[in-house]
Amino acid sequence: MFINISFAPVETAFREFVSHYGFIFDAIKGVLLQVFLVPLEDALRGAPPWLILLGVGLIAYHATRHWLPPLFYVLCLYLVGCFGLWDKLMSTTALMLVSTAICVVFGIPIGILISRSNWLRAIALPILDVMQTMPSFVYLIPMIFLWGVGQVSAIFAIVVYAIPPLIRLTDLGIRQVDREVVEAATSFGTTPWQLLLNVQLPLARPSIMAGINQTVMMALAMVVLATLIGARGLGETVNQGIANLEIGTGLQGGVAIVLLAIVIDRITQAYGMDARQRRQRLLKGGSFANFQRTTGEKA
């Protein structure tokens, strides 16, 4: 009844491809490992924990302009240290930072491109759908062909999984910029670059930051799976828990990931608010005073 369709030739073709162009992937691997991941991971793991905690606190303060939330975030990370998982936390953070950076470097420009052309968008959206719905185990396999078992494969598996929301939300953010504002800016003779940098990207910023936030969250969700192809970090603890049926160990790893997720989520969300909102939060009641003044003017 069924004609036989097999994807096995894909494998042959892929092997062929890798044997010819493998040097390209080796080069990517080398750069990624030697220039980015290893130095970052060494730095994070080598630095004294209090310095990292202080750094996180300061970044969180810069993002939220409050003292209490940063204190809470620092406490979260301190707790992970108490689990005895500080080293692994740093490995996971390094992995996640590098993956997210790659997502941002590629995702935002792709999102911008898609926002400028309807047919590009029509091509890209189904691809993004596939990337998001394909069971992630499936694309772990070709990653191993390309880079072998290890951190680099893990990074790219994470990128494939985590980049779609950023592309989507960048595209959406730019398309949602008020048309009259764009028209007005154009009417004063902006070049396409001026329009993009001075009008579209700043106004799309909340949406783009939401995309980065989503990307980071998905990257963290992928951390456990990525240990299957050689990622180090908190995922190892979870997998160890599964392998040895140690409920406590697995739970510790899981809770540690959740705590890290909370911290990163809050910080990136805080950056999603525009600079003005944050400034106003600094001047207490500023927004209320503005509200009063505006309505007073109208009355």
């Binding site: 504002v181 028209e183 154009t186 009417s187 004063f188 003779g189 700043p202 003044r293 505006t294 003017e297």
Partner: protein
């Protein structure tokens, strides 16, 4: 000498622009073009001469093509056929670079919904045109400050648009357009979104500024009172066609057809300056 000449301009919106244009050139009206090609005929055979240094009002109800017409002058919309000569240069034939130069130096625009950048301060908005064309930042901001002062917004330089009332926002829009020192100022229903009283204030202010500036101002409105008040000449559009061009006096005393007559009579019936389309109450 005329600043702007519009010659036999047609504009068709839609997928079958050429087919629609062919029908429009044969003289078929808006309805027939829409029925046969599902294209919208926005402008049909419009020919106009706009003298320098005057306020030229383009009037019509929604859908009459007036917003399309005003966008031809700075190339935001390209005509399907015809010429728009600004100082003898055809705007319709300019490439992207030429259009940019035109918009940066010669023609500025004020929008109905203000079109201010919400993430920039009032001052940065006022200086936007100058910053865009690459003038030094301190000079651009200085000019912006000057123009904000001139439209009566001294002291509001550091405010953001959402902290201002509608009338104040449009003053920023006006300052932004004037700061570029254009020869031609396009105003697309610039005061239509404002309360009636504020609107009258803005009209007065525009006329006051015009006394010194002598810009060529093209002002689009749906409000005959506004047109009569500020226009040296008024052109009336109906379904994309030019119905009448004349001084306010001519429009009032010799309406060209029933459409114009209805406008005028409606106004005569309500002498307390009620506009044809009620403004949003605020």
């Amino acid at each position: 000498m005329n600043k702007i000449e519009v010659r036999q301009v047609y504009k068709v919106f839609g997928a079958q622009e050429k087919a629609g244009l062919a029908l429009a050139l044969q003289g078929l009206g808006k309805d027939k073009v829409l029925y046969q090609t599902s294209c919208t005929l926005a402008l049909q055979d419009v020919t106009l001469s706009i003298p320098a240094g005057q306020v030229f009002v383009i009037m019509g109800l929604s859908g009459s093509g007036k917003s399309t017409l005003i966008r031809l002058f700075n190339g935001l919309i390209r005509p399907s056929a015809g010429e728009i000569l600004l100082d003898g240069q055809d705007v319709a034939r300019l490439d992207a670079r030429g259009l940019r130069e035109l918009r940066r130096h010669k023609v500025s625009m004020v929008f109905q919904g203000f079109g201010l950048l919400p993430h920039k301060t009032t001052l940065e908005n006022a200086a936007f045109a100058l910053l865009t064309r690459g003038e030094p930042k301190d000079k651009a901001l200085e000019a912006g400050r000057l123009w904000l002062d001139r439209v009566g917004l001294k002291g509001y330089e550091a405010k953001y648009p959402d902290e201002l009332s509608g009338g104040m926002r449009q003053r920023v829009g006006l300052a932004r357009a004037l700061a570029a020192d254009p020869e031609v100022l396009l105003m697309d229903e610039a005061f239509s979104a404002l309360d009636p009283l504020i609107r009258t204030d803005m009209q007065d202010q525009l006329l006051q500024l015009q006394k010194d500036l002598h810009k060529t101002i093209i002002f689009v409105t749906h409000d005959l009172d506004e047109a009569l008040r500020i226009g040296n000449q008024i052109a009336i559009l109906y379904h994309g066609r030019l119905v009448q061009v004349g001084s306010p006096q001519e429009i009032l005393t010799r309406p060209a057809n029933d459409y114009v007559r209805r406008f005028v009579e409606k106004r005569a019936g309500q002498p307390q300056a009620a506009p044809a389309e009620g403004p949003a109450s605020g």
